[in-house]
Amino acid sequence: MNLTLTEEQEMLRKTARDFLADKCSRKFVEQMEESETGYSRELWQEMAGLGWMGLAFPGKYGGGDMSFLDLGVLLEEMGRVCLPGPFFSTVVLGGLSILDVGSEQQRQEYLPGLIHGERISTLALIEPGYGNYDASSVTLEATRHDGSYTMSGSKLFVPDAHIADYLLCVTRTKPESGITIFLVDAKDPRISYTVLKTIAGDKLCEVVFDQMSVPEANILGGLNHGWDAVQKIIQRAAVGKCCQMVGNIQRVLEMTVDYAKERKQFDRPIGSFQVIQHYCADMATDVDTARFGTYQAAWMLSEGLPCTREVAVAKAWISEASQRVFTLAHQIHGAIGVTIEHDLHHYTRRAKAAELAFGDADFYRKMVANEMGL
């Protein structure tokens, strides 16, 4: 047992932190939120140049042969600065899923473009309605006509769909139990996009398919057997979100402690008051537990070990721990923390979005209950 990062991981962390400190200023974050695309092509290319998109992919596709845990370190650093853009969509939702379930031909066709920063991909899973990441909530039908499949209907909360080149679209191909994932050309005119106005300004889209036709060859994984793959995608995405959230709340803890040291009332730093100290201690405990839970899940995923329970524990825990962290962070920051002049709101808004993504605490508590045999 060992709970520290390797030297290589520490180096990766440092490189990422320095690079992002330089490139991802608060102003940049705000500009991207305002912009239509939500990312900068130039920064995207630089990140590809650093090998970030390909980090966790095999060398034969142009990747860096590193692990999911290494990618987790990078995601944590991205969460730390609220990095905007389609990295998570392209790498965690799209690329790694293709690597996982795609045929060798599909991998060779799609992965190099994603890894080199030339293409963007994402996952179209959620649909209108209130189903929550279970198979029965997938109703978008893909029906077979002459060797291809046609779909009409919509997907919701699809991140970065409006700038994507490929959508991994989860569809129903058999009424009872058939779920199939299709690799869809996102630029096809039969697909339209509306960017939703969200809490985190993170370019979640409504995607509408109008008689969209997809060749049979674009099935990712098996026909009617897509749900196992989708569950794995959700699991990996949940851990990826946890990693981002760890970076987010670690930074918020640091900001809050710094503020408590500087801000004076009654002629002394407010951080010298026990009530503030105890709030900060509570925040630190939530951050550390969230980190260990997250890294345990990321490590197990990296090692290819079964980890349904550990992932559920990590996401259930961090979803609520992060909310406690923000309640206290705002209380300690006082009124300045609820203005847009201050940085804190960027973190507050993104943490909530991450909590909602790929299963919240209730969702994973149910999973833990099942794992316990209740």
Binding site: M1, N2, L3, T4, L5, T6, Q9, L69, V257, A260, K261, R268, P269, G271, S272, F273, Q274, I276, Q277, H278, C280, A281, D282, A284, T285, D288, T289, A290, F292, G293, Y295, Q296, W299, M300, E303, E310, A312, V313, A316, W317, D362, Y364, R365, K366, V368, A369, M372, G373, L374
Partner: protein, 385 residues
């Protein structure tokens, strides 16, 4: 990072489990909550000692095994999982032995460590006093030098295991003129010396868990001074880091945790969404807490005293224990109020015991408030209040 255990560690865990399961099968004892601090069973302690499982991390020259802190955590984790009656040796093994090892003279090491390892020397702690709780540096027990002896006068309280203890690890004031935390020294005092007396206290659970211990002109040879004279306060802080370090703060009631989950399954209460959710939440809290405690062992493995790390794990864990007891009482409904021995009592009264007993967990070995002060100042660098 590596969240797995080595093959050797897994084998060791299996070995400990097999031993404990056999003990239970033979009917030597029944799993119980709080058994690490309230289960006095000299024969059990002796059997544990015979396997070399006391002083596991200590150097071989003093009878230890020189094994890792992770292995010790595995050992204690299994003891707690099975609710084993380990109170006779727990304090000597967890902290007093370590204190002697860190600060004691060669003579003290040779006198005590092999005996603790053999399961023959039981220790109680003499820290708190009626007027000195969280503010431990205000303690008033006096130790006055008289030739080769110190004469001890005063009262200690909340001394656990006192009825069984053969020795007390006592902190007393040796320099009343000095700034208060600079005038305290640590002594090992034989409980059978003339002038030592004890009065048991009955706690809220009805258990004789604690004692007041009185020292009336007790003459202690100066060779039983541990470490440097007047450095005792620094030594007690060090020792407290270890006192807070273990899984007993998270798993002291593990038998209840297992039992209430089983109870919910058998009575179909686990079909109730609210109960499923509460039990699952406990499992989540338990699993992340366990990682906090393993972090502490890894810090010790690096050769560092776990300071804010054990403050964090202890503060977190005792709150978990309270929630566990609270949920267990809720699951049992009106049956939760039945005391051990009553008609209809479920789970041998464990839920009631834990519910009442857990009120004290966040007071022992540093209140949660003191622990959060430590976290704020030592971990986060906030100014002292």
């Amino acid at each position: 990072m590596d969240f797995s255990f080595s093959e050797e560690q897994n084998k060791f865990r299996q070995e400990v489990r097999a031993f404990l399961e056999e003990e239970i099968e033979k009917g030597y004892w029944e799993p119980a909550c709080d058994a690490w601090v309230q289960g006095f069973d000299p024969a059990f302690t002796k059997r544990v000692a015979d396997r070399g499982w006391i002083g596991l991390t200590w150097p071989k020259e003093y009878g230890g095994q020189g094994r890792s802190h992770i292995e010790r955590l595995i050992l204690t984790e299994e003891m707690l999982r099975y609710g084993a009656p380990a109170a006779c040796h727990w304090f000597g093994d967890r902290q007093v032995g370590g204190t002697i090892l860190s600060f004691g003279s060669e003579e003290l090491k040779k006198e005590f460590l092999p005996r603790i390892v053999r399961g023959e020397a039981y220790f109680g702690l003499g820290m708190s006093e009626p007027g000195a709780g969280s503010d431990l540096a205000s303690l008033q027990t006096r130790a006055v030098e008289d030739g080769d002896y110190y004469v001890i006068n005063g009262q200690k309280t909340w001394t656990s295991c006192a009825s069984f203890s053969e020795y007390f690890d006592v902190y007393a004031r040796t320099d009343p003129e000095a700034v208060r935390h600079r005038g305290i020294s640590e002594f090992i005092i034989d409980a059978h010396l003339p002038g030592v007396s004890r009065i048991p206290m009955v706690d809220i659970t009805g258990t004789e868990a604690w004692n007041d211990v009185f020292f009336d002109n007790v003459r202690v040879h100066s060779k039983y001074l541990v470490g440097e004279k007047n450095r005792g306060f620094y030594q007690v802080l060090h020792q407290l880091d270890y006192e807070r370090s273990g899984l007993e703060r998270l798993m002291g009631n593990y038998p209840l945790f297992e039992a209430i989950v089983q109870f919910a399954k058998e009575n179909r209460l686990s079909q109730e969404p609210a109960i499923r959710s509460k039990l699952a939440q406990l499992q989540i809290e338990f699993e992340v807490g366990r990682l906090l405690v393993y972090r502490v062992a890894l810090v010790m493995e690096e050769g560092r005293a776990p300071n804010w790390e054990s403050a964090m794990s202890k503060a977190y864990s005792t709150e978990f224990e309270k929630r566990l007891a609270g949920v267990a009482m809720e699951v049992l409904g009106p049956y939760g109020q039945l005391m051990s021995g009553s008609k209809f009592v479920p789970l041998r009264g464990m839920a009631l015991h834990s519910y009442l007993g857990s009120k004290g967990y966040s007071l022992q070995a540093g209140t949660t408030e003191i622990l959060k002060n430590i976290l704020a100042v030592r971990r986060l660098g906030l100014p002292s209040s």
